[in-house]
């Protein structure tokens, strides 16, 4: 998917993560801030990158502020932000396909 415009998903509440995606310059630039950076920083980063890869996103600037979200929440927020940036988040989501 192509990031067409800036979009955001998630909140700054505990156990959540706020993800912002913006159009990129041909690569993925990830900026991560997390309340559990020392413990889980690498795993969180991997989850974000895997999710973007699954969605076929190859060019984006991604900012994430993590408040101790589980992997399933991180995936949900990244996916929602990407689909929102394509105006495709409201219907016909490929559940079980690109979303899994």
């Amino acid at each position: 998917m192509e990031i067409k415009k800036p979009a955001m998903a998630g909140t700054l509440e505990s156990s959540d993560a706020q993800v912002t995606v913006e159009p990129g310059n041909g690569k993925i630039e990830l900026s991560l801030e997390s309340s559990v950076m020392n413990q889980y920083g690498r795993q969180i980063k991997d989850t974000v990158l895997e999710t973007l890869d699954r969605l076929g996103v190859t060019s984006a600037r991604v900012t994430m502020v993590d408040k101790g979200a589980l992997d399933c929440t991180i995936k949900a927020r990244v996916e929602c932000a990407v689909f929102r940036s394509c105006d495709a988040s409201e219907s016909n989501i490929p559940w079980g396909g690109a979303i899994k």
């Binding site: 929440t73 929602c80 989501i93």
Partner: protein, 304 residues
Amino acid sequence: MIPRPRPERFRLRRTMMFMNAQKPGLIKDAYIYGCDSIMLDLEDAVAENQKDAARFSLYHALKTIDYGDTEVIVRINGLDTPHWQEDIRVCVAGGADGIRIAKCESAKDVLTVEAAVEKAEEEFGVEKGRTLLMAALESPKGILNAYEICAASSRMFGVAISGGDFRKCMQTTPQRDGIDMVTARGLMLIAARAAGVQCFDTVFTNLDDNEGFEAEVRQNKAMGFDGKSLINPKQIRLVHQLFAPTEKEVIQAEKIVRAVRENAAKGLGVFTVDGKMIDIAFLPGAERTLRLARACGMYEGDLV
């Protein structure tokens, strides 16, 4: 991926607790509270501009979190909104046990949802008929059509009244003695029993009024409800306590089940247990008491 077992149409549902599907902090460990069912909410708890985000969050929660024996129901948006179809797709794809139809007013509403569920089961390769349905009656029309709603589909396991909206329609507010909704609760219970489905009472929203809550739960049990919708984990224990049979009732039920079976073998239809006349008509009630007692940890025998 957590594969959930095939949902049971009739199971114990004393407590159904609402949870905002959009809030990860709530849904990640909802099963630890020990309610019989959790109701992940895509409707009123989720702001209009977060409906999409709630679905992504719901999908991954359903696929990732092991809710164990806790039933997982999802409350979808009303049929008068642009959201309900995608809500159904995500529920079925994620493998929710059941769907709660908001603001249900007719059998046609149930059939509309059923058709969409069936289409989604086909789309996502889910066993046909797996996804159960229940309806929330929130208007006078819904209450008056309760029977046709209850009987509309073999997927239907129950109906619940939704007090907030209903009281607004009726120009009333919650009363201490429950007089504001006694007719509606009664009509809905009769309809549910006539159709052979379960029946659930509305939420009690004043968390500081313990006395009022207990009075309402006692009335619910006396009226014959199967359970109650809840908004807070701290309400669970009292409902389970009050809905549990007494020890005396369990002993009596055990005697009745034994006596009916033994006497049937001897060819006797009517007899006495502890001086009371008993016949086959008492069996289902006694068996229900024993099943409830087992669920409450009060019975470990093998009669049910």
